[in-house]
Symmetry: C2
Subunit: 298 residues, 2 copies
């Protein structure tokens, strides 16, 4: 079983508008709301693939109720930790005229010390094959390192101080993008920066390169995996789908080239899905054999 953890969960609301014009009034043509937050997106992708997955997340207030109801409707198994604050919303504006995607993310509620302990205890009650810790930490949360001490292979997908502090928990994999990698290391060269993160506690560093795919700096070598072609669509959630692929590969004991192939194929399938957490299964199956993986000098 793969267990995902989302301390700063969200109700993702998507508004479709004809065009986004700053300083004017827009009529929302279509509105969709679903449970979100990076770990929930990972769980949704794995659930769509028919994998055994479980989500741990916080939920509070009326927005938390809507979050809980949608997760249950989607059939994603979850352990929800009740919190006193109101679960945040993220609002995505999809403009059909020019295909732009504009996001507004609320910061989310603070956690009490007791709520954080309850989250840690909930994670500790499970013995997953892979643990996935995703997203920002709300104020009042402890550190991801507290969740990573179970001896289970773990993927940590966060940024800034939460990533830096989380390295002391020795995560098997961290997955920064280029900007996040530079922010925590101060280094412009991705391989040098990733090597530094490895020396600070990460087992493998998988760097997302956007449309260029993934770069993995591992104990056994360095690989770059590129999609067979450039895709246009909604890139929100593409990184989470890549994490789902990495988790799936690790759970199956695959070598890194195979893991990266899966992650890049799922990432592309997410770009083609309409909302974060959606994937185009046909693209995933086709692309699995088409991703180009090459070893780089270490």
């Amino acid at each position: 079983m793969i267990l995902t953890v989302t301390p700063n969960s969200a109700l993702d609301v998507t508004y479709t508008v004809d065009g986004l014009r700053p300083d004017s009034v827009h009529r929302v043509r279509e509105m969709r709301a679903r449970a979100g937050g990076k770990g929930i997106n990972v769980a949704r992708v794995l659930h769509t693939l028919g994998e055994d997955v479980r989500a741990v997340a916080t939920a509070g207030g009326a927005t938390g109720n809507a979050f809980t109801a949608e997760l249950s409707e989607a059939g994603i198994p979850a352990d929800l930790v009740p919190v006193g604050g109101e679960t945040r919303r993220t609002t995505t504006i999809l403009s059909t005229v020019d295909d732009t995607v504009t996001l507004f993310n609320e910061p989310g509620p603070d956690l009490s010390a007791q709520e954080w302990t309850s989250l840690v205890d909930t994670v500790g009650r499970h013995t997953p094959d892979v643990l996935v810790c995703s997203g920002s930490l709300p104020p009042g949360a402890g550190g991801y390192a507290e969740l990573l001490t179970t001896g289970v292979p773990a993927i940590l997908d966060t940024s800034g101080a939460a990533l830096t502090a989380g390295l002391s928990g020795r995560p098997s994999v961290v997955k920064p993008n280029l900007a996040e990698l530079r922010e925590v290391t101060g280094r412009a060269d991705p391989v040098a920066a990733a090597t530094e993160l490895r020396s600070r506690g990460a087992g493998t560093v998988v760097v997302s390169l956007g449309a260029d795919g993934l770069l993995a700096v591992t104990e056994h070598g360095v690989w770059q995996a590129a999609p067979s072609k450039t895709l246009t669509g909604n890139a929100t959630g593409a990184g989470d789908a890549a994490v789902a692929g990495i988790a799936l590969g690790i759970a199956g004991g695959e070598p890194w080239p195979g893991i990266l192939r899966r992650a890049v194929a799922l990432s592309g399938a997410a770009v083609l899905g309409p909302l974060a957490g959606d994937i185009d299964l046909a693209h995933y199956r086709r692309e699995l054999g088409a991703v180009v993986v090459r070893a780089l000098p270490n």
Copy 2:
């Protein structure tokens, strides 16, 4: 007592962001939520002025609960008609970098025939000095004309088909802006267009001219009222504040020049208020004596 009616009420959510950049991710710096919809804004202005006002509105679902709670917290007396659908949200993005105001309005839930009847009955239980009917009609609603048959002076502030059909209820005042006036009459000249609306059932037509103030075509003459200076701020809710001023003037039996002075002063006070329904009382008091009203040839 002034009674306002808001069939398509809303929870108005305001996000403050550093700058609005289409096709990118924004962190919401500050978030405020309050009961809204045009009639609620009118009631909030009158309540701030210490006037005897009551709001009739629909409320449903979790968003309706938040709407109800905020209205009660603000101390605005209200009769809320429960509806099965979820009360809509409007989201306003305030960008602090360039002072832009960008709105996203959800369409709102359909009303059942029974819910509409319940709204009509709720309005009918009151005998206000002035009745104010504001905003769009949700699908399933009857027409505003059904609310206007009580013999009470009534202000109708809506647009399109809801305005056209509402004229058969012979409202004392309608308050289109220039675009709305042109849309329902097909006429470019505002005095000619307003005169046509009078012939179709409106007692007085008050046309909002944006920063140029108000134009009133009445039984007794035509007046234009202009603010003493151009204001910069959040114009959302400025029209509702003008309606509050018109209602107050009619309730007090004022002649039209005085009513327009009040409406223009309140409209400017709303531009200076941070959110729709807020007014700058000091500006209102100062501006009351400074608004320039002149009679125009009929």
